[in-house]
């Protein structure tokens, strides 16, 4: 048990000396504390006594600046502006009646009272029991009003101006759905954020904070927010902050991160000028080489600036938006559910080429005479005059329904849907926005699941509708990405809006790399046929989309005119990509109940392409 040096502890002199050293060490530390106490209590005693008597120190939260949003060229599309709030500090209010009278005496140039008597009276009343927070009596006040209150500060004890930062979108409604908006945080969200803060150490929200809603503002809220700072300030008898207390711990606010998006604001604004607000629909343009979204427009538009206005104006604007039957709050690009119509024929064509059952240069067994008899009824072709016998490229160019009825029956839905999934249909693309819809692909199993309860049964007749894109559901974003996949021919990228994240100093903190969603299994020969067919749609005299032509650029596309339950007119669709040799842009346009895709959607896409390739004047 005893080791060589075990005797040290048995030596009473050693023990006594070690114990003395320990006591000396602790005594030294205690002496340092005594010095500190001497400093606090004797040297600074009177100062602390004064602070204790007035209790005039306040903890102040210093809000972090919210990160900005830029377009791909560095143009600011969301920034912050100062906003003045006139507020009452309940603990500093002395004579409430007098304050009320003085405030109501302020009049603007038209002779109207600046302050709303009801709001002021009610706030003064509330100030009797809501003691510990400022009560705002004039939200987002003009600078003149703020300076007026500052001038009369000594007459109005307890009335203060608070400076806040509010979000503003310099382009107004442009890209409004994509950007989202800011709104006051709700009680439940404050509670949730407190629970989360206990787990991951994030800063909880406070009453009066603003939080990102919808779009990028919501998606990247945690990055935009930054971290609030704190400091202690001494306040005077009017509740006015005099100075920061320097020897108290303080925490500098950490500005939020800024985001450089993939959007091209010039193109975005042009696209929105093409979609008038009376039209309902959406336009998405993206880069087939990496999935970067260039344009994302939804009509009617929504202006996120209204949420930064004061309560009255905000409430009025909000009511108008919320009650509008055309649902301007919806981002139709990602949550609009549309039947793809004839644009789906690209999928069926590829399935046909890959099946080995249909050869591109052959025609179907029956010619198109304006309709196709199957079972006990006749399915019509869109052109009642009929198309006769067509090969695949011809049928695609002229969008012959009868050809695709027969192709669908030969191929079966399983084979078609496998290709559709490869092109990203039937499932969310995973874009960095919430509220994205997944769309729908239909086969016998999903049909039974969806409609079985209503007593509807799957029949082969349904294949006829499905193979011309009636029955599937897709979002404009999915259609644009599908067009990108057709043009690219090798891979499908995940569409995304964030290009890079930057710190407030401007250093790049995160860069988004193109992410491959699916590998497209298509041989170069098959791809060449598809590109040829898409080009014929635009350039052939028989093609349905002559109005999407761009001088000097090979454009390929496919029109669609989808029957729908919402109205008599079809939804007009057009998907396209260009230049076909080396595609740099893919576009999808969907216009609700506008009519034929070739007549309404294709011209809009064409104008956008001409602008993109520099043929349309700027501005």
């Amino acid at each position: 048990m005893a080791a060589p040096r075990s005797n040290l502890l048995d030596d009473s002199h050693y023990r006594a000396s070690a114990a003395r050293w320990l006591l000396l060490f602790v005594s030294l530390m205690a002496a340092l504390l005594a010095l500190r106490l001497f400093y606090l209590q004797i040297i600074k005693g009177s100062y602390h006594e004064m602070l204790s008597a007035q209790n005039s120190l306040r903890l102040q939260v210093v809000k972090a600046a919210r990160g900005m949003i830029y377009d791909r060229h560095g143009v600011v599309i969301a920034r912050n502006r100062p906003s003045y709030q006139i507020a009452l500090l309940p603990t500093e209010l002395k004579n409430r009646q007098e304050i009320l009278e003085k405030l109501l005496r302020f009049r603007d140039s038209t002779g109207h009272s600046i302050f709303d008597s009801e709001v002021v009276a009610w706030s003064l009343e509330r100030s009797r029991w809501r003691k510990f927070q400022p009560l705002v009596i004039f939200e987002d006040a003009p600078f003149e009003v703020a300076s007026l209150i500052e001038e009369h500060q000594t007459d109005l004890p307890g009335v203060v101006t608070l400076l806040e930062s509010r979000r503003t979108y310099p382009f107004g409604a442009a890209a409004g759905h994509t950007l989202g908006y800011m709104d006051e945080v709700r009680e439940g969200e404050i509670e949730d954020s407190k629970t989360r803060a206990a787990v991951d150490g994030s800063t909880p929200y406070q009453r009066g904070d603003r939080i990102g809603r919808k779009g990028l503002e919501r998606k990247y809220e945690n990055y935009f927010r930054g971290k609030d700072g704190i400091r202690y300030v001494k306040v005077n008898a009017f509740g006015k902050e005099m100075e920061a207390v320097s020897d108290m711990p303080h925490l500098r606010p950490e500005a939020g991160k800024s985001i450089r998006t993939t959007l091209d604001m010039g193109l975005q604004c042009y696209a929105e000028s093409l979609l008038s607000d009376s039209l309902k629909g959406a336009l998405v343009a993206l880069d087939p080489r990496n999935g970067e979204i260039l344009v994302m427009a939804s009509s009617p538009r929504m202006d996120g600036n209204i949420f930064s206005l004061n309560r009255d104006r905000r409430a009025r604007a909000w009511a108008k938006l919320a009650l509008d039957p055309s649902l301007p709050l919806n981002n139709r690009s990602i949550s609009g559910s549309y039947e793809p119509g004839s644009t789906f024929k690209g999928i069926v064509s590829i399935a046909a080429l890959q099946s080995g059952k249909i050869r591109a240069e052959n025609h179907m067994s029956r010619a198109c005479n304006g309709g196709y008899a199957f079972g006990n009824r006749v399915w019509k072709c869109w052109d009642p005059r009929g198309h006769g016998f067509l090969d695949l490229v011809g049928a695609f160019t002229q969008s012959c329904d009868v050809y695709y009825y027969q192709a669908g029956l030969v191929l079966g839905m399983d084979r078609i849907n496998r290709v559709a999934r490869e092109f990203g249909l039937g499932r969310k693309t995973g874009i960095d926005l919430d509220d994205e819809r997944s769309g729908l692909l239909v086969d016998s199993a999903s049909y039974a699941e969806r409609f079985g309860q209503r007593g509807w049964n799957w029949s082969r007749g349904l294949i006829l509708n499905l193979s011309i894109g009636q029955g599937e559901i897709a979002t404009p974003l999915q259609l644009a990405n599908y067009a990108a996949g057709l043009a690219n021919g090798k891979v499908l990228y995940r569409p995304h809006l964030m290009r890079e994240m930057r710190s407030v100093e401007g250093s790049v903190e995160m860069q988004v790399k193109p992410e491959i969603l699916n590998v497209i299994r298509m041989t170069p020969q098959e791809h060449a046929i598809i590109l040829q067919a898409m080009e014929q749609v635009v350039i052939s005299p028989n093609g349905t989309a002559g109005r999407a032509r761009v001088p000097g650029v090979r454009v390929g596309g496919k029109t669609g005119s989808a029957e729908n339950p919402q109205g008599d007119k079809t939804h007009a669709l057009f998907i396209c990509a260009a230049p076909l040799d080396n595609p740099t842009i893919a576009v999808a346009v969907v216009l609700e109940n506008a009519g034929h895709g070739g007549s309404f959607a294709a011209p809009i896409a064409g104008a956008l392409l001409r602008r993109f390739f520099g043929h349309e004047p700027h501005g």
């Binding site: 075990s6 040290l8 502890l9 114990a19 205690a30 106490l37 903890l59 991951d200 711990p249 925490l251």
Partner: protein
């Protein structure tokens, strides 16, 4: 120090118990003044806790010492299970205790504190340690690191650090020099200081200077420097590549609670104002304005010293500090006087825990250390820590009286 004769040793250490009684009394008084007019019967409960503590101490005093010696290791093993239970089943809860029948809560970290004290005292009592023979440090290191890591994971940083203070003092007492302790702690310092290159460089300079000065063995020098460099870079790597942002944030808030804008910073401010406004003689008992208006949160637990300082001033604070030093002096005297290595080590370990709590708690109230929620021994409101202090005191007094030849 003169050797006291055995008849004195057999009696209880009345001066020591006297100081503890005075501290306890002041504590109840201040708790009364801090919570006057609040619901919760705090001072009555505090008297109840004190009574329970006395019962626990008496029980510890009466158990034959050999049971503690024999039970040290089994108790140590047993103390690890409640810690594991907390980590495994209460990972997402702020609770760090286990509810026992009868409305009592078991604080596994307090239990582990007593068990580690016993086990470490037993181990070091027959195994001398030396840095030149690294093998001798292996067993104490393992004994220490397991409960330390578990308590750290709980997470209860302050209690884990009190283990460091306790073990450090015991190692010093059993022969490690201050230099050796510095060498042992240096990799931990590297982990922290690596984030500030100047500080890290200064630490290396000091380390090398000490090595040079004390003619440290070349092999020890080289390996220590390598270990320090490795620890520093490993820390940076883990920080940047392994931890997620929110985990980093959590650690930062843990080390520096002032990052929490609302909570800790406010407390420190109010504590400083309360203490400082007491000036030389204080505002008088029950006349504290700061505390009576409830501007000071946690006033009866972690910030009891500020309440004392406001009402009794600088003189009151110094008196209490002196009482603590006298108490530590009495406990260390047991270590000096006893013939039993085990008893001496127990006394030193207890000194480590008590002095750590006193120094860190007061440092926190005067605003020189982060707010970590460490109570002031014998004075802060609360049962668990009080009882565990009395249990350790009871064991040490027991050994002083009856454990001479163990």
């Amino acid at each position: 120090m003169s050797r006291t004769d055995s008849s004195e040793r057999r009696r209880l250490d009345w001066p020591l118990l006297g100081i503890v009684a005075v501290l306890l009394g002041i504590g109840v008084m201040v708790v009364y003044s801090a919570t006057k007019g609040e619901a919760g019967h705090h001072w009555q409960k505090q008297i109840l806790f004190a009574g329970m503590s006395l019962v626990a101490m008496t029980a510890m005093y009466l158990i034959p010492p050999r049971y503690f010696y024999a039970g040290a290791y089994p108790l140590y093993i047993a103390s690890l299970f409640p810690l594991l239970y907390i980590i495994l089943f209460k990972a997402n809860s702020v609770e760090r205790w286990i509810a026992l029948p009868g409305g009592f809560n078991l604080q596994p970290s307090e239990f582990a504190k007593v068990a580690l004290l016993l086990a470490m005292a037993r181990l070091l009592s027959f195994q001398p340690v030396s840095l030149s023979q690294p093998k001798t440090l292996l067993a104490p290191a393992i004994l220490f690191i397991v409960p330390f890591a578990l308590v750290l994971k709980e997470p209860n940083l302050s209690t884990a650090l009190s283990f460091v203070a306790m073990t450090g003092m015991m190692l010093f007492f059993s022969g490690l020099s201050v230099r050796d302790l510095f060498f042992l702690v240096s990799p931990v310092l590297s982990v922290v200081l690596t984030f500030n290159h100047t500080a890290w460089a200064v630490m290396f300079l000091v380390l090398i200077a000490v090595m040079w000065w004390t003619r440290t063995h070349l092999r020890t020098m080289v390996s220590l420097i390598l270990v320090n460099i490795a620890a520093g870079y490993a820390a940076i790597f883990v920080w940047n590549k392994v931890l997620y942002a929110h985990q980093r944030d959590r650690i930062l808030t843990f080390m520096d609670p002032l990052r929490d804008p609302q909570g800790a910073g406010y407390q420190v401010l109010q504590s400083k104002v309360a203490l400082g406004s007491g000036k030389l003689l204080g505002k008088g008992y029950l006349h504290g304005t700061q505390t009576n208006l409830s501007f000071l949160p946690e006033e009866h637990t972690d910030f009891i010293f500020s309440v004392l300082g406001e009402q009794f001033g600088f003189l009151g604070c110094i008196t209490v500090l002196a009482l603590y030093l006298f108490l530590l002096h009495r406990i260390l005297r047991i270590a000096a006087d006893t013939r039993s290595r085990f008893t001496a080590l127990m006394a030193v370990g207890l000194t480590g825990i008590l002095s750590f709590h006193v120094l860190v708690n007061i440092s926190m109230t005067v605003g020189v250390m982060p707010v970590t929620g460490l109570p002031l021994p014998f004075m802060s409101y609360g049962g668990s820590f009080l009882i565990s202090c009395f249990i350790m005191l009871g064991i040490v007094l027991n050994f002083r009286s009856h454990g001479e030849y163990l």
